[in-house]
Every structure is written in C-alpha cells, then in structure tokens.
Symmetry: C2
Subunit: 435 residues, 2 copies
C-alpha cells in the first residue's frame, strides 16, 4: 500500500485543496459517487489486516496510557466492527441521492423557469472521538452527499485513522472522486485553526462531550451541527396508565443511559405520585438506577437522595434520575420550558387532549406521547443515516440525516427576460405556475 503524497504546508492550503476537490466531487453523477463508495468498501476489505494491526497498536498504547475501559472498547476495531462498518458503506450507497432533487419547479412567466435544486454544502469539518469506525461512516456520508470532508479523530485513534485514510485515498485514486476530497488532521492544535477557516469549511460537525461541543459552538463562525446538552424530561400525568408510565420511564433511562436522548428528569403529577413512585422506585432499583427527589417525592420515597436545584439542569448521562412532583400539567410544562435543552420531551397520559396540548406547547426538537425518549434518533425515524442531532431552533433540527449535508440553489432560465417588463405602471403579471 502506497501512501498518497498530499502534504500541503498549511491547514489553510489543505482546506483549499479539499474545497477544490469538493467542487469536482459536487458535479459527479449519483453512479460515480456510489462507485467510489463501493471502491472504498472493497479496499477496506482488502486491507483489513493492515487496519486491524494499526488499530491494535492504538489499543495497546491506550492500555499503557491507562485510558478508561469504556473508551478502550470504543477504540477497538476488530474484524466484526470493521465488517459492520463496511456493510454500512453499502447501506449508504443504497440511500436515495440527496443531491439534484427538485424542490421547486415553477414557471414565473412564459419561458422563464425557476427551479430549486438540492446541492452539496461544500466542505464538512468533522471532529470525532475515539471510534475509528466513525471515520468510515462520515466519509461515506460525505461522498454520498457530494461534500469534501476534513476529519479530526481522537488522538488515541491516530494509527487507525491514518491507515483508514490511506486505504480510502488509494481506493479513491481509482475512481472519479478526487482523493483530496477526504483529509485527515492529526493534531489537536489543528482544531482551533480549522474553526477559523470559514472561507473553506461550510459546516462543522462535532461529536464529543457536551463541553467540547459547546466550546466548538462558541469558537467558530462556521455553522455547527450538533447539540451540547440533552436534558430530556418525562411528565407522568394524573391520567397516565401506571404500567406504561413505569415501563416507558425505565426504558428511557436505562436502555442506553449515556445517550443524549435518555431521560434525566421525571415530573410526576401530585395526584398519581403516591401510586406510581413506589412502583417506579422498585423497577429502577432493579436496574441499578439511583433516584434523587424533591421534597414531595421524598415524602413518598423517604429513602432516596435529595435533589437540589442543580439536578434540574444536569445531564447525568448515567444511572441517576431526578424526580419532581408537580401540581399540574401546566407546572410540568413550565418546568420543562425552564430547564429543557429542547432535545426530546415526553408526556405519559391517556388523556389525548392534554397530550395534544403538550405536543403543541412544548418547544423541543422532539415532543413525544406515550413512548420512550430513546426513539429520538435518525435511524429509528427512518432516515437511513444520522449525521447528528441538532437542538437549535433553525432547521435542520432534531435527528438529521443526509438532508443536513445538502443545501439548495435557485436556477432561473429565460430567453432574454428582463425585470423592467414586470415593473412600473404597465407591469406584466407573473404567472407563478408550478410545473
């Protein structure tokens, strides 16, 4: 395997190189991009031994450095994980092409045709953590959507990422996609530099801890796709079905406690609190979850810890759940409006009118009724791929699939049409007829 010679003397010129490659990539056909994905999949199979060897080196070093075991597990890229990442590339190839879609096709006047077509954003800057398989997934999504990508993986995964990038570069060299469309940064210092390259980079996707994402958001003028906090609430209404309430809360907390869509605060209507809380406490204890309650909760469950004000604004990301008894659905909504990170908020009730009010009034990317907060996810929503979850108000919001990696442009075609014809006293009217 021969390393591709691309060593620009600065990050800025590397980014410019990526932008130029992205421009070539942007105008390739669906087939050309899909063929590049197949070539990458095949090369990753061919060179799997090199990749696994490089990864083993990273894993060994991680052990020596005493890196936490959970991180070591994410870092490890064995044959199974690699095969599954390769299968993921084939899945991405099968997804509908997100670019070239006609969103508007409108006659403004005879012979003056407006089209709005989706097109790639340009260059993505993706900063991720230990998992080297993330590099494979991100690269395939970038190529599918016609975007160049500048990748920065965790330093623990350096050997793995370098080998993967080399294999990808060599594979692309045999396709119509310029290898320079995919670039790897290797030092932490480069992140800061990358954030300033708004001339070349069109979207930053940070994957990491809350504080890391917040740091990125606050230190760049480039749009950022992602979210810092995921403080999700469940409100158990007085008209909730007790079994559903317990089952849904347990699933929302324990199905994957580290996920951003796991529940962190439970709000319980006072009229049902003494019925549901003991059942919940039992179920949660079985799952190893620690409850922290406000005063009213602790009157019913005196053995649990006290929840203080900071609990309402904490994403535990683990097996702790804050519990508060509320006077009414309105108080629950008010608590949510105050502390929500606008990720996912759920109500459990058999009162469908109240459920409608909750779904209508609560401002969050996901508003759920009688189901687990854990469904807030691009794959579960049927997007085929997830590039991130956004808690910002402006679209794309919530779980974002390939549509988050494209933009659009307006193409207007005429035959000598001038604006003066449609202005002033004898202005010709537009037809504005959708075709």
């Amino acid at each position: 395997m021969v390393a591709l010679e691309t060593t620009p003397n600065s990050l800025s010129s590397l980014a410019q190189q990526t932008q130029n490659a992205a421009k070539q990539l942007a105008i390739l056909s669906t087939q050309q991009r899909n063929e590049a994905l197949s070539a990458i999949a095949q090369a990753l199979s061919t060179y799997q031994d090199d990749i696994i060897t490089a990864n083993a080196k990273d894993c060994e070093q991680a052990k020596i450095d005493g890196i936490p075991e959970a991180l070591q597990a994410r870092l490890k890229l064995d044959q199974n994980k690699l095969q599954s990442a390769i299968a993921g590339i084939e899945d991405v190839a099968k997804l509908p092409d997100p670019i070239g879609t006609t969103q508007i096709n409108r006659e403004l006047d005879k012979g003056l045709i407006l089209k709005r077509l989706t097109c790639p954003l340009g260059v993505l800057g993706v900063i991720f953590e230990a998992r080297p398989d993330a590099l494979i997934q991100i690269t395939s999504l970038a190529i599918k959507s016609g975007n160049g990508v500048i990748l920065k993986g965790g330093k623990e995964a350096l050997n793995s990422c370098q080998t993967l990038t080399q294999v990808i570069h060599n594979a692309l060299a045999e396709t119509d996609v310029p290898p320079e469309a995919v670039q790897l940064l290797t030092t932490r210092a480069e992140i800061q530099e990358l954030l300033a390259l708004d001339q070349y980079v069109d979207l930053i996707i940070p994957r990491g801890s809350n504080s890391f994402v917040r740091y990125i958001q606050e230190n760049t003028n480039i749009p950022v796709l992602g979210h810092a906090d995921g403080i999700c609430h469940i409100y158990i209404d007085q008209e909730a079905d007790l079994n559903k309430a317990v089952t849904l809360t347990v699933d929302s907390k324990t199905q994957y406690p580290a996920a951003c869509n796991a529940v962190e605060t439970l709000l319980v209507h006072q009229a049902i609190a003494k019925d549901v809380l003991p059942l919940l406490e039992k179920a949660m204890t079985e799952k190893g979850v620690t409850l922290r309650g406000d005063q009213a909760t602790r009157q019913i469950l005196p053995q649990i810890e006290e929840a203080t004000a900071t609990d309402w604004e904490t994403e535990y990301g683990g097996l702790i759940l804050a519990v508060k008894v509320v006077e009414s659905a309105a108080s629950a909504i008010a608590h949510i409006q105050t502390y929500s990170s606008k990720h996912t908020e759920a109500i459990i009730t058999e009162n469908s009118n109240l459920a409608q009010t909750f779904l209508h009034q609560v401002d969050a990317a996901g508003v759920f009724h009688n189901c687990s907060t854990r469904f807030s996810d691009g794959f579960r929503y049927g997007f085929g791929a997830e590039v991130g979850i956004s808690t910002q108000k402006m679209p794309p919001r919530g779980p974002v699939g390939l549509e988050g990696l494209v933009t659009y442009k307006y193409q207007l075609t005429g035959d000598g049409h001038i604006a003066a014809t449609y202005s002033g006293e004898n202005a010709k009217p537009f037809t504005h007829k959708d075709l």
Copy 2:
C-alpha cells in the same frame, strides 16, 4: 388613543415578555392570527391621521438635520404609502399558513406514528432603517408566522415607529394575539444588548448597509438571516445573442442600481468582446452608467476608466459597471468563484450545454441563464412575501419567504412503545411506512 403600559425595566425582561407572548401566539389558530392582521389593518386606517402627523414630524426633523434626500424619501409615509402597506397586510393574511404543515407523516411501527410539523421560531429581532412601512410589513409577517418580534427602526423614524407600534398594540389588545408579542426598541444602544439575548431571540434579521449587516453577523450568536455583499456577475459567452446580452446587462445594472441583485461585474468572452462591448458602451452611456474596464476591455473601449483589482470586489450599488475580458467560460467561472458573494450569477449564451455547466458549477444562491439578475427576489419567485435574501450556504438560502420564519418539530405518538423492543438480537424491525 391610549398608550399601552408596557415598560419593563430592562431589555432582557422585555425580551422575556415577548417570548412569553410569542408562546401564546404560537398556539393560536390560522383564523385567530389572520383576525389579528385584519384588526391591525383596520386600526391603521382609522388612525391614519395620527400616523401621518407623527411621520411629518420625523420628516421635518430629517430636513433640519440635513439627512440625504434619498433617505428622506424612504422616511416619508404619505397616505398612498400607508394605504399600500395596509393592503400588504391583507395580502399577508391571504398567504397559506406557514405553520402546522405536515412535512413527514410516518408509521415507525404499528401504533408508533412520527410527524414532522412546521412551527414558529419564537422571537424575531428585526433591525431596519428609515422606512416606517417596513415596521408594518415585518409585524404582519411575524404574526402570520406565529412569531413574536422585537423591532428597532432607524432613529429618523422614531415618531412614526412609536405611533405605528401604539396603533398596533391597541389593535391587538382587542384580538387573541397578546400585544406584547410586538415590541419596539428606540435607542441605538439597545441593538448591542439585543444581539446578546440568545436566550430569548431566535433569529436576527438586519436590513441595512453591507457593513451594518456584517457587523451584526460578527457580533451575535443568534442566527442571522441576511446578506452583506451582493456582488453579482454576468458572463457574456462567445455564443451569446448580442441583443440579449446588451438588453440583459442594461436591465441587470439599471433597473434598480441600489439593489443587491444588480450586476456589478461583467465578464465578456474575448471572441465576442469587440462586437458586444461597443454596443454595450452605447446603451450604458444612454442610461448614465460609467464603465470601468481591464486592459483588454480598454483596448476596445479606450475612452473608459481603468478597472483596478479592488473593482472586482466592489458592490457599487450605483451606476458603475466593472468589465473584464476573459479567455474562456472556465476563466469566467474561476473569476466568479473568487469574487462572488454567492448571491446571483448569470450566463448569457445560446449554448445550452455550456449554460448547464455554468448553472451546475457556479456556487451561488441564484444561478441564471439568459435572464436579468434582478429576478432574484422573493416576490418575483412567487413567495408572496420576502423576509430577506440569504447568501449563506445553509438553508434558507437566496430569497426567503415565510418559510424562513418557521422551523419544525418531530411529534412521536405511541402506546407504551419502548426502544428495547427494537434493539439487540431479537430486535423487531421498524416498518418505516410513510402514511
């Protein structure tokens, strides 16, 4: 007319008040919002004398202060302009409701239904210049889209804006829309403060000079809808029809030279330059346009001024046009890629393959073939209303109608569905069936 008592002691509490009012506004029906628009239209008619008197005071002061005549003309709100603004409110009322639209309606599994529905952004911060009729238009668009709005008009229009806001507040007091959903700031110092209120304000829309918009973009974490520069190009290809080339360029430059979609730089293929440039020079001179040319242009038109490097990056906003002779369509595209502000770029050619290449390769919100750049406008595109033109890559891009004032949320309704059912070895598959 009685002034509404709303004097919060800080901008932050005023913004919070607007946010609370916006939450009430957000859940009103289409009819309730349209009724509020009618009430405003009626009140503006009823109190037209008060409004025109207040405006006359502003105009008088503007004359004393020696404000430029063009600005004085924009400031003036006579009966005609007021009637036309009132008619504009009725037009907005007739537009389709941008909120509550179902974008996705999908069964994830039996009884687990995902919907993506459009909803208001929350609170808009709109900073505009002298024209008091802008306040009327913006307010009606905000109410139509279910958003609260904090307005800051030019200081020249202070009396006009205060009277208009008072009339609007009194009108809203008789409707279901809380008057606090519309607020007016009166001092320039408040702009700086407004830009820091990302907790309460969801979108800033600046309407003003390029440098002002750039200042806003660089000094807030709130998303900004707008554009700084509008450096639009026309490329006249060697296969252009000469008459079309001249007519389209004249219209693009002169139909409204101050507009952001007016052409600033003309690129001419060398093979056609000596045919088209003299015709163009004659037509432009008749319209009072000064040409500035590069060396090759001045070999054909020796009498015109020299264009220096800074001309390629200048938005004249007036009757000057920079002209450059290029070797090929590729050189034209390369020049555009370097200097474009990604607003609107046009090609004039009878070669439809080349036109397709241009539309495909040039990265701008608008890419035009054989028509005037002046068509780049929300009304001309048939959006009914324009809230701004964005030159950013991420959507909304280009002319933005009401869709730029809404976002969406995902509503998921189940009946006790938990994520565990769809995970692990015996995972139940999702149906992902669009309904």
